[in-house]
């Protein structure tokens, strides 16, 4: 493992790739000895002419480094990762980022949309056992890592924004956006909010926090 400007740079090989949900791939790469990170941090894929950042869903002590990646129509990384053979080496730098669990000072409220749930999967796999986790998706089939999250965190609530058949409704699901859940269900208090997902969700939830939960702390990771 070498260092570039103080940041470790290393190679990892693709060992597994499978679909978690329509349009969402899970990648597994070999974990070279010495590669470590704090759950919630991300690695940078250094590709031929471009770079992409993805948060690990695995724990620092796992045998592989795992990522969940939303495929983008016409996207370079989406194209390259789907045609890569098992065993293909990837160049990575990192770990990067500061979106990590900040300790149990206040009750944690984790809010994600889509693959923004990735850092929270790492939190839960690393032992986070209390707090509320809202995972906002358009449809029930997008609830990736549902079994892991449900068993790790009693406060796991899937939030499904589009209308769906009642028979398809997952246990404990909330029909509506994460912002609606927070407005309607979260009791007054001081929390540590962790928001990860699209900018529009982060903007709306931040406005709500400023209005209703003013003394809370807020940690943000935006997925474009």
């Amino acid at each position: 493992m070498e260092r570039v400007g103080g940041t470790p740079r290393f190679s990892a090989r693709l060992v597994d790739r499978h679909w978690l949900a329509p349009g969402i791939l899970e990648l597994r790469l070999t974990r070279q000895e010495g590669v470590t990170f704090i759950p919630g941090q991300f690695l940078r894929f250094v590709m031929d002419g471009y770079e992409r950042d993805y948060t690990m869903v695995s724990t620092p002590d796992a045998k592989t480094i795992d990522f969940c990646i939303a495929m983008v129509e016409g996207g370079r990384f989406s194209r390259d990762i789907q045609k890569a053979d098992i065993g293909t080496p990837f160049e990575l730098t990192g770990p990067h980022g500061h979106f990590v669990f900040q300790g149990p000072a206040n009750s944690a409220v984790l809010v994600a949309t889509g693959t923004g749930v990735a850092p929270f999967v790492a939190f839960c796999r690393s032992g986070l056992g209390t707090g509320l986790l809202l995972h906002g998706v358009g449809a029930p089939d997008r609830l990736i890592y549902r079994d892991i999250l449900q068993s790790a965190l009693p406060g796991y609530v899937p939030c499904i924004s589009r209308p769906f058949e009642k028979m398809d409704r997952p246990d404990n699901a909330f029909a509506g956006r994460v912002t609606h859940y927070l407005e309607q269900q979260l009791t007054q208090g001081v929390y540590d909010f962790y928001l990860c997902g699209r900018g529009a969700m982060i903007r709306d939830v931040t406005a709500l926090i400023d209005q209703q939960f003013g003394d809370s702390r807020l940690f943000i990771e935006t997925y474009d």
């Binding site: 300790g103 000072a105 903007r203 931040t206 400023d210 003013g214 702390r217 940690f219 943000i220």
Partner: protein
Amino acid sequence: MKIYTGTGDRGKTSLFSGERVSKSSPRLEAYGDLDELNSVIGAVASALDEGQSGLKDEIQAIQALLLESGAWLATTPGAESTRFLKPFTIDPANTLEAAIDRMNASLPELKHFVLPGGHLSASLAHMARTVCRRTERRVIELVEYEDGESGPSQTMQHILVFLNRLSDYLFLLARLCNHNQGQGDVQWNG
């Protein structure tokens, strides 16, 4: 990555340690002034001649230290997030003292008051000096506001010493810029 988030549209922003604070809070005033200082110092570097790459490198190293001290100012003391911050020691202030001594030795002895001005690079260095003094005052205000009689933490003390030396460095840098341009100090004939 988008530059705008819309999370600061109602007058609040998040500290690195997560707290939502008013944009007029003493902490924001302090690191806002530090940001302004860094920008003016960047303008000084931009106004230097091509042949002064050594000085430009020194100035850019100072800018990196200002970013590091800004991260400390943007974090509530004792917060979990401080583990991500690079320790800010007394070393940067000592390095500035050595640079001050080096510049002072190369300049004619000062026997009169000088007016801020002269070459553009010198004028900008004087502007940076005054912004540095204001930043130092803002950081003192923050320390007094938050720490009261307990006094500043060791890190904040190191940042204060660094800012204090930096304004002296910028005064000498302004003089050096004028002398390097062959025009000397702008004397006050009052």
